[in-house]
């Protein structure tokens, strides 16, 4: 394990050095929001806070072109049309800088959907392989954070390549994966082993500030039992607006829609796009016939909660929840709907 020390004033120069070889994403403030944006030399130091929107877009963009296509008419024989298809799988070397442990763990949950099983998603896979994740261990858990409830923690190394912890005068960088260790080994940064204990102590302090843990080990079993308890779901969902805030913010929500846009005969051609979709929308399950198996929002909420705390425990080899406890869906929900409350109630009542 390579451990380095990065002095506070050395952060921006180090990022500038990284930016020469990588596309760097880092959080910055825009209005009240904190958003991951490409970081370029000359930019300010990234904001050391949890971003408003999880950085999942770095691997799984809000919208991407899967295939572009174009038809061309043969001028000699106008009924003869040829079709050209392009499916570019591009991934530039990327550094995701300054995400939180809950964000990095989110990618582990996404991997299950995009890399698990027989078919791997080439677009996701390419970006995942080309990306190095430098996680800023969390020093100020918010009231909505509950990473420790779902087997994570403010300094969980899962999903990260490098863990970075703020200490007196700078940061301790700790290589986690091979990629991360290689990066640090070649970074020219001084050794930071002597500061590791300080970093560890600070992390333990931070973990204590996470909202006291509730036992969710019975979640899957109890949600299963609740599946047909519609009164429960209706009561829990009454205030929900059926928007996409909770799912789009979430580091583990993985659903998408595929649409064809544009005219293949035009100059620009047509594109098959993949874009984020959300199970809280009534459109999500509406069939072409008009029938909708999840007609009411209670059924949609049941899906979101059950997926995270029950279905995923069945389809993931390690039985993990597909919620990392980042708390975004609580903090950013326009009606402050609290997913913790639903799960806890489902277990208790």
């Amino acid at each position: 394990m390579t451990i380095c020390f990065l002095a506070t004033e050395g952060l921006v120069p180090w990022l500038a050095k990284l930016a020469q070889n990588y596309r760097v994403f880092a959080p910055r403030r825009e209005g009240k929001a904190i958003i991951f944006r490409p970081w370029k030399e000359g930019d300010k130091a990234p904001v050391p806070l949890k971003a408003t929107v999880a950085p999942k877009g770095v691997m799984f963009p809000a919208c991407e072109t899967l295939v572009s296509y174009k038809t061309t008419k043969d001028p000699q024989q106008l009924d003869k049309v040829s079709l050209t298809l392009k499916a570019p799988v591009k991934a530039e070397p990327t550094v995701l800088f300054g995400c939180r442990s809950c964000d990095a763990r989110g990618f582990v949950a996404l991997d299950k959907a995009y890399l698990g099983g027989k078919f791997k998603d080439p677009y996701y896979e390419a970006r995942r392989n080309a990306t190095l994740i430098i996680t800023h261990t969390c020093d100020n858990p918010t009231p909505t954070c509950f990473c420790t409830w779902v087997n994570g923690g403010p300094a969980s190394p899962e999903g990260s390549d490098v863990l970075m912890t703020a200490v007196q005068g700078g940061y301790v960088l700790e290589g986690i994966s091979q990629k991360g260790n290689d990066l640090l080994a070649g970074s020219g940064l001084p050794d930071g082993s002597d500061k590791l204990n300080e970093a560890r102590a600070l992390r333990t302090e931070a973990a204590k500030r996470v909202t006291p843990r509730k036992d969710l080990s019975k979640a899957a079993e109890r949600l299963k039992a609740r599946f047909t308890d519609m009164d429960f779901w209706i009561a829990q969902t009454a205030k929900c607006l059926s928007c996409g805030a909770c799912t789009f913010m979430c580091p583990t929500c993985q659903c998408f829609n595929i649409t064809d846009e544009g005219d293949p005969a035009s100059e620009q051609g047509g594109q098959r796009l993949r874009s984020w979709d959300y199970c809280m929308s009534p459109m999500f399950t509406r069939e072409a016939s008009g029938h909708n198996p999840r007609m009411v929002k209670a059924a949609r909420m049941r899906n979101r909660v059950s997926h995270k705390y029950w279905y995923s425990t069945e389809y993931s080899p390690d039985g993990r929840f597909s919620c990392t406890g980042c708390g975004r869906c609580i903090a950013q929900c326009p009606v402050s709907l609290d997913i913790r409350e639903i799960v806890v109630k489902a277990i208790e009542e």
Binding site: E30, A62, L241
Partner: protein, 508 residues
């Protein structure tokens, strides 16, 4: 200017079938020379021209858009152009807020016999667009990511000390619930911490114990009313067999602040809800707060709040073991700073005394509008570009809006018509906001819920405020949601419009 010079610009014309298209034809038959930049789209009537048509053209690269119909009082369908006149004037005055020069859009009237007038109109408009040159594009604009933080003054002193009539209100609701004629009553309860309230659906008298009233009741209760009415109707139909008489549905109860009541009144004005389907519980409001401003005062967005108490204008917040005091002047929401109607005027029960604001008090214009007004057109385009870049298309802004009743059949999700695609370009995302704003013209009550709901803090409400300012000017201070008997301006017309000039092209 002609094709031959190779300097044509992209000008789109929407001409009504009965007059202006005929006028253009007359000009053609008379071999009147005309510039050739204009691309004509024939529509049945100028009343068919959804303001989104010109807007979409302008956003997609048109340098100018011209709409022409029959002269007022000459419409083939009697009144189509009267409706058009109001909408198109709205559009024209709306354009500057998004950074588009309003001179790039014009509407006028040309009859089928007026070949010569058509020639003048096209020539004048084309000249005007050529003087302006190719239109600036969103993709070239310099993005602005920052937002103004200025606070406007309070139109009256606000108070966070709670309302002494809360017990009376609770009793009214308990009695009504016990009577059994209500499906539920929507109010507020404490959320996951003391500075976050969350909506409360009271179904049994004991649920009322959780009801709160005060500075954290920020959510609009008018927002879910159409959904709840439907729910009540569905509940009434349970067990009803074909041929049975349809039983009456229970009423939906709703607790309202002044601004919430405006939403209900606007829905009543538009006949989207029936007055008998709702039971309104009102109380005077002394202002609500912005949780972001509270956290900013504490200086830590991760602050753990364990208690709050309000006394008069001062809120005391205990966070991480420390007490912070703050004044409503620093933490009140923008809308409350300017609110002139803190008490509902339409209600079934009123608890305590109504709170009023002096009739002649003049609110300071919203900070965001003053800021946008101070920018140049190019900067405004850059502003929206910078803000919309972070839009994640969650549509919380739409779903939080009490007037957005389409919800499940919103054009944002429709493939036919295909107003917006799934592409996440700024213009595509922004176009949805423009749809929302124009669909809210003359209807937006200024509840600010779209702004508040946006998880990434995009001030989309400013677009609606712009429509509000235009509506006030055009229709003598009209305020949506304040008079249940008033006809919303875009659902009506005057043969002689007081504040809309008739022949715009002449002002070119």
């Amino acid at each position: 200017m002609s094709v031959l010079t190779g300097k044509e610009l992209r000008i789109v014309g929407f001409l009504c079938n009965w007059c202006s298209y005929g006028g253009a034809d007359t000009a053609g038959v008379a071999r009147a020379t005309q510039p050739t930049d204009l691309r004509i789209i024939r529509v049945p009537c100028s009343g068919r021209v959804n303001p989104l048509f010109p807007l979409k053209a302008l956003l997609s690269g048109a340098d100018g858009v011209l709409v022409s119909g029959c002269h007022p009082r000459d419409c083939h369908y009697s009144a189509g152009n009267f409706y058009a006149r109001r909408r198109l004037e709205l559009l024209k005055e709306f354009l500057p807020i998004i950074g588009i020069n309003p001179d790039r859009f014009e509407y006028t009237w040309v009859s089928a016999s007026e070949g010569q007038r058509w020639q003048q109109v096209v020539t004048a408009f084309t000249d005007r667009i050529h003087k302006l040159g190719p239109a600036p594009r969103f993709k070239d604009a310099e993005p602005i990511y920052d937002l103004p933080g200025a606070l406007t003054s309070l139109v009256r002193p606000l108070d966070c000390g709670g309302n002494p009539a809360l017990d009376e209100l609770k009793q009214q609701i308990r009695d009504a619930l016990a009577d059994g004629h209500l499906h539920c009553v929507v109010g507020w309860q404490q959320g996951y911490d003391p500075i976050h309230a969350t909506p409360l659906h009271m179904r049994k008298p004991e649920d009322v114990d959780r009801l709160i009233w005060g500075p954290f009741n920020i959510h609009s209760t008018a927002n879910m009313i159409t959904q709840l009415i439907k729910e009540a109707q569905d509940a009434a139909m349970v067990g009803v067999k074909r041929g049975d008489p349809i039983p009456p549905a229970k009423k939906v109860g709703v607790v309202v602040k002044g601004c919430d009541s405006k939403g209900l009144v606007e829905l009543l004005q538009e006949k989207l809800i029936d007055r008998n389907a709702v039971e309104i519980f009102a109380m005077g409001c002394n202002g609500t707060v912005s949780t972001d401003r509270i956290l900013a005062k504490i200086g830590n967005t991760a602050a753990r709040v364990s208690a709050v108490s309000g006394k008069g204008d001062t809120l005391t917040v205990t966070a991480d073991g420390t007490e912070y005091t703050m004044s409503m002047n620093d933490i009140a929401q923008d809308k409350c700073r300017a609110c002139k109607m803190p008490s509902a005027k339409v209600y079934d029960h009123f608890a305590g005394e109504p709170v009023t604001v002096a009739e002649d008090a003049v609110p300071e214009p919203a900070a965001i509008m003053a800021y946008l007004d101070s920018l140049t057109l190019d900067q405004r385009m850059g502003f929206w570009k910078g803000q919309m870049e972070r839009c994640i298309r969650c549509h919380a802004c739409r779903n939080a809006c009490p007037m957005c009743v389409c919800r499940e059949v919103c054009v944002a999700d429709s493939r036919e018509p295909h107003w917006v695609t799934q592409d996440d370009t700024v213009t595509n995302k922004f176009f949805f906001q423009l749809i929302h704003a124009l669909h809210l013209a003359g209807r937006c009550t200024g509840c600010g819920e779209c702004n508040r709901a946006c998880p990434v803090g995009i001030p989309v409400g400013a677009l609606k405020m712009q429509t509000g300012r235009i509506v006030q000017r055009l229709f003598d201070g009209y305020q949506p949601g304040t008079d249940a008997d008033a006809i919303p301006p875009f659902l009506g017309y005057e043969v002689e419009e007081k504040n809309i000039p008739e022949h715009h092209i002449e002002r070119a």
